[in-house]
Amino acid sequence: MLSHTRLLRESARITERSVDLHAVADSTVDSGLAGGAALVAFTDAAVTGSGGLAIARTRLRNELGAEALVDAAGVVGTFEMMNRVADATGFTEGTQSRIEDAELIADLGFDRFDHAN
């Protein structure tokens, strides 16, 4: 989550938009992005399998369109794959990355998931 939270931050910066990174760790926080709540609801339903995927899919399609739904499903699928590659191989972020983003890691509570160490 660290790598792509960084990319989220940088992408917002270069497109001159404001994003609240706390939305990554707290679904009640408004990211500030167009359709952000629908994207988070879709992601949560798709990843947790706890129900509500059909409703979340319809909401996302209505708010952002069919192409956005396909893109969102593709991103979820990619990271369902990559997260397993990382977990199963013991891949970790380098020490330098941890130092550079220590404040971000602490602020969003990511360090509690660092089970590879």
Partner: protein, 213 residues
């Protein structure tokens, strides 16, 4: 178009449908360290795990391999170095483990895409006959901080470098479903979603999976 994606009314990009077909075609062929029959059996067990079902005794995989094919998709955050070391000491080579991880992860990712868009899962292909290639990486790899041999200071796309075909597979899936290599540094990319929206989904997915990376 794949059989499953054929039935949807959604605008599936050509690169997505062909990317998925290519992966299924690859799975049906002998791998680097597993036969095609074993690869499909591993994929089958991974699907059962994703559906919350126990390993199925089919006689085509040792029990410990069937269990490993379930742990990676269903409870990856429980995996520790000691578990991998025990698996490698008792049942598999590192190369076979890395190929299993790649196969399972690709199937999980593609199945997740189908579920996300509301499509039926693509039926697993029938395996073809033939022997694994045994292709080694271009340079010998050492066991370092990670749990499998990988290049020094590797990035995530090289985590499966011990089996080059698996690196190619995850790169191809990422290109089809997320962004291509050349698109990766383009942070103002705009498609159905813009890149910022894509990264919100990527980061949230990893958070829910408790994946620090």
């Amino acid at each position: 178009m794949s059989r499953s994606l054929d039935a949807t009314d959604l605008p599936i990009p050509f690169a997505v449908s062909t990317g998925i077909i290519e992966q299924w075609t690859r799975l049906a062929k002998p791998g680097t360290w597993w036969t095609a029959a074993a690869t499909i059996a591993i994929a089958h067990q991974a699907r059962r795990a994703s559906d919350g079902e126990a390993p199925e005794a089919r006689g085509d995989l040792p029990e410990v391999v069937a269990e490993a094919a379930q742990v990676v998709p269903a409870s990856p955050t429980t995996i520790r170095r000691a578990w991998v070391e025990e698996l490698v000491a008792s049942a598999l080579s590192y190369e076979q483990y890395v190929e299993l991880v790649g196969t399972v992860s690709v199937v999980v990712g593609i199945d997740s895409f189908h579920r996300g868009i509301g499509a039926a899962l693509e039926p697993l292909p029938n395996p073809t006959k033939g022997e694994p290639s045994g292709e080694a990486p271009p340079k010998p790899l050492q066991l370092r901080d990670a749990w499998v041999p990988m290049p020094d200071r590797a990035w995530i796309m090289r985590a499966l470098a011990l089996v080059p075909a698996q690196t190619g597979a995850i790169e191809d899936v990422q290109s089809a479903l997320y962004v291509t290599g050349p698109e990766f540094p383009v942070l103002d990319l705009k498609r159905g979603l813009d890149r910022t929206q894509m990264e919100l989904v990527a980061a949230r997915t990893s958070f829910l999976n408790e994946c620090f990376y």
